[in-house]
């Protein structure tokens, strides 16, 4: 049983149906990448999880407790970082964290020490400015600090890196990685390289439901099509290999470009061993024999198409 479960969630805005029976299960202590195109419904899903939006039907369970729209009880398990976090501009970072701590009901001394700890973690320790003078990246970092303040079981981040420059993005990802182990992280994005960098689980939202879900390695394994790239010493050998009778099969797709031949086979029985067999029988030694790894991008494109 996951720490966060989403069951058959439906939500439409007017005639536009955003979620069509979304099911999702986030296991504890994972970094869960929630991927989808812009407008796929990532933010909507998160707001429903937080009780800020009312689903048309379906339910959400956080740590075994059901989320009710308009109530905020289940939010005590959750730390939330909105895509563009907004704070009271007249406050200083410590004042803001103090307010958050008081609202959550943390003990006074604890707020102080925890706030300083977190500001250190996000690199705002020596920032005495009012929040009104903060840059985008600084606000994002303060956002993470306030989200982690109550030691949440789940940290939900809505596109934490989209609006930032490469340096700011790397900083945020490093902070999230540092928080791993202490908490479960659900984080939405459309930047696939971010997902590959820190996530262990991934879910792709498309057409109102999950088109793909599992651990990163599992998904890659499941979607491994048998693709191989062979490079030969000269074009002659390459075309010889290209013309082999045994490989003329409907499930085999070959293309040749100069010295290299790319083989894609849909039939599991005609995989790497089969190719190696063929090569040894013909006494051809390729310069290189590479297995094609599916990339997240190719998977994503395949699912979204």
């Amino acid at each position: 049983m996951g720490i966060l479960e989403v069951n058959r969630l439906y939500k439409s805005f007017g005639s536009h149906e955003v979620l069509k029976g979304l099911d999702m299960d986030v296991p504890e202590h994972s970094i869960f990448g929630f991927v989808g195109q812009n407008g796929a419904g990532k933010t909507t899903t998160m707001k429903i999880i937080l009780g800020l939006l009312k689903p048309d039907s379906g339910s959400v369970t956080v740590c075994g407790e059901k989320v009710t729209y308009g109530e905020t009880r289940t939010n005590r398990f959750i730390g939330f970082l909105p895509d563009v976090p907004e704070f009271y501009g007249y406050m200083r970072p410590l004042e803001y964290l103090k307010l958050c701590g008081e609202i959550t009901g943390i003990e006074k001394n604890r707020i102080r020490s925890r706030s300083e700890e977190l500001l250190e973690l996000v690199g705002l320790k020596n920032e005495k400015k009012r929040i009104g003078g903060f840059s985008r990246g600084m606000k994002q970092r303060l956002g993470i600090a306030q989200a982690l303040l109550n030691e949440p079981k789940i940290l939900i981040c809505d596109e934490p890196t989209s609006a930032l420059d490469p340096v700011g993005r790397k900083e945020i990802l490093d902070i999230l990685l540092a928080a791993k182990g202490k908490t479960t992280i659900l984080f939405s994005t459309h930047i696939l390289s971010d997902v590959e960098r820190i996530c262990d689980h991934i879910a792709v939202l498309h057409g109102g439901r999950l088109a793909l879900c599992g651990t990163l390695s599992e998904i890659k394994e499941r979607h491994r099509y048998n693709g191989f790239v062979l490079e030969f010493g000269n074009e002659e050998t390459a075309s010889m290999f290209y013309d082999i009778e045994e490989l003329k099969h409907p499930s085999v797709n070959m293309s040749r470009d100069g010295n290299t031949v790319t083989v894609l086979t849909g039939d599991r029985g005609m995989g790497g061993n089969f190719l190696l067999d063929v090569l040894s029988r013909r006494r051809i030694v390729p310069l290189k024999f590479t297995v094609l790894e599916p990339t997240l991008e190719s998977l994503f494109m395949e699912v979204v198409r």
Binding site: G70, T72, P82, P85, E86, Y88, L99, E102, I103, T104
Partner: protein, 254 residues
């Protein structure tokens, strides 16, 4: 109740930090001092303006003139400034999205509404007390030995009308998302009360009487008991509006 206390503290802090508290208190103090002074000086100013030929006898100013100034300024400038200062009470939080962070921290929506109303009531009370105290002190100094009747009751009515108006502000702020919308609805509500006051029979029940009959109370032209229905109606509607704000805000999609 953690959330309520913490959020109330934040509201007060915000009111002070955005300079609205100092404006409210400074204006209250200034009017408080100026009321008796203007009452005392008006005849002299009029006299100096008069040309030689015309002679109008101007009655010697009394304690009533001072309180007339007080109620005129408090019901006009005082209430208007208050409405303007509080019109952004929800809109800035809703349009900027500053509330989302705190709600996701477990702050209950009811605590937001109640602490915002409490903050408004506290500021209004402080302003009335300050303005009234100053006018009272200086009136004693300028018009010694004269007494006005039902003074505290009359001020209480004005204060209560402020509370009623603030409940209207709160509800319209929750319904509309913009500060202008809030101003518009509050203005419309106030206008509706005033129009209803044209019907003589409605006057007994109309909350607006609480801010209109103050002088009559002081001069003894009206009995305090004549306002008991208006007080009842105002209290009732204030409570209803706050409860409505709670339920509207609870169902609001953020």
């Amino acid at each position: 109740m953690n959330g309520y206390a913490a959020f109330l503290k934040k509201e007060m802090y915000e009111f002070a930090k955005t300079y609205r508290l100092i404006i409210m208190l400074a204006l209250s103090a200034v009017f408080g001092i100026a009321n008796p002074l203007v009452a005392k000086l008006t005849p002299e100013i009029l006299e100096s303006l008069m040309t030689d030929g015309i002679v109008i006898t101007i009655p010697e100013p009394t304690v009533y003139d001072s309180w007339q100034q007080f109620f005129k300024n408090a019901t006009q400038m005082g209430l208007i400034v208050m409405v303007i200062l509080f019109s952004g009470v929800m809109s800035t939080e809703l349009t900027k999205g500053t509330l989302i962070n705190l709600l996701t921290k477990g702050l209950s929506r009811a605590a937001v509404i109640l602490s915002k109303y409490t903050c408004m009531v506290l500021v209004w009370t402080a302003s009335i007390v300050l303005s009234f105290g100053l006018t009272y002190g200086y009136t004693l100094y300028l018009f010694p030995g004269e007494e006005a009747s039902n003074l505290l009751f009359s001020v209480f009515c004005l204060w209560l009308f402020g509370l009623f108006l603030q409940a209207v502000i709160l509800l319209s702020a929750v319904i509309t998302k913009t500060g202008y919308g809030c101003l518009l609805i509050t203005g419309a509500a106030a206008a509706a009360c005033m129009i209803a006051d044209i019907i003589p029979a409605a006057h007994r029940y109309n909350p607006v009487s609480l801010a209109a009959d103050n002088m009559a109370l002081i001069t003894g032209a009206a009995e305090p008991s004549s306002l008991c229905y208006a007080i009842l109606v105002s209290c009732m509607f204030s409570v209803i509006f706050v409860l409505l704000s709670l339920s509207v805000f609870r169902k609001k999609q953020l």
